[in-house]
Symmetry: C2
Subunit: 226 residues, 2 copies
């Protein structure tokens, strides 16, 4: 009971900071996505594939990467000419709104229209920590199995989009894309679902177009309100 | 700072309960493994493959399964004639020693020689929560990438064994088994590493023999001390 009260307090504090982050981003016309997945679902590879398309569509986009240790992912992303900021969480299994508040000024300085936050690989805790994003995006690798929406419902329920990644592996697994879609939509009927492969490039264009349209709509709104 | 003190208190309480669990299991000669991985690395499929071999080698083994919701995994395991107890964690991203204390009497009643605890799919938090096991075992799917030991070092460092699973997928990915081994051993030089595939059955026998030998050695010791 005591633990629950402490947790409620932590989440309330996080929510307040997330709200401030969100207002700052919206005011400056920066669309923010919080990309979450299990470890190794392919978030970094997706961002690498998306980089040239998003740079073309939006002129500028930036990435914040959360990892327990090291900067392997940040180095990979920076290699595509994308401004990237690494947040090292140490033992924390998720980014929180405070981490993003620290990266906020850097992100605004990039004059970006889209900020992709690559969260720590974890299919549970990130669902509870609002970062101030406009949309959470869950990435699910085909290799993880089509039952995952039923086993980790919170993260699918909190997300606006689901990217089913590594579909090139589908023929070598028992993953049934139709069943994965049905399971995901049973948890969250308004989820936008994309199917991608970083090996073949399939579906990357469609997902980028979806994000670019969201970012451009937010920018137009910000310009109108200015 | 306040949060850190709270966390220390929670972990200290968990450690005390884990110690009591461990003493109870050792006294009764039950070898306990805490199986951890990302979601979808194949823990349940491994246990299904292992069931006939472990039942033959040990007469009795039992499983405790932790999941946020549902009992999909427990139903699968029970189908192999293995006693299984489901723990539903709700929003908690890991099992803790208190969960296992609640399952302790059930586990002892099974008169088992080996208890496999299948933890919630999460490569971060379970590393911090001792359950009272004799050995933590990390399962890493080939589809997750060979860099994972460097990105999630705590769990590899806490484990006594690493099972590299889904090796049948290796030809279709960039996963380099040699590099994965080197990365894992750089974090934890005494890690015992196994390579398995639930599709081809490769390596399952070797991993079962390893666990059965541990369990039989503990049982002999318990019998001697009686």
């Amino acid at each position: 009971m005591h633990d629950i009260l402490i947790e409620k307090k932590i989440l309330a504090e996080n929510g307040a900071i997330a709200g401030a982050n969100r207002r700052a981003f919206i005011e400056r016309g920066v669309y923010v996505i919080n990309m979450v997945s299990s470890p190794g679902a392919g978030k970094t590879s997706l961002i690498e594939q998306m980089a040239p398309l998003l740079l073309e569509a939006l002129d500028a986009f930036a990435v914040v990467v959360g990892d327990l240790e090291g900067d392997l992912d940040a180095v990979r992303i920076a290699g595509h000419g994308v401004p990237v900021k690494q947040i090292t969480t140490g033992r924390a299994c998720h980014l929180d709104a405070h981490d993003i508040a620290h990266a906020l000024q850097w992100a605004l300085d990039q004059n970006t229209r889209l900020l992709i936050i690559e969260n720590v690989g974890n299919m549970v805790c990130p669902a509870e920590y609002d970062l101030g994003e406009d949309m959470m995006v869950t990435v699910l690798s085909v290799a993880e199995g089509d039952d995952k929406p039923l086993k980790y419902p919170a993260i699918f329920n909190t997300s606006g989009a689901l990217v089913i990644n590594k579909i090139d592996l589908a023929p070598y697994t028992d993953f049934d894309i139709g069943r994965a879609r049905r399971n995901a939509l049973a948890i969250n009927p308004v989820l936008q679902i994309f199917e991608t492969s970083c090996r073949t490039g399939e579906g990357i264009k469609e997902f980028c177009a979806f994000l670019a349209a969201k970012a451009l709509a937010l920018r137009r709104e910000a310009d109108t309100n200015r």
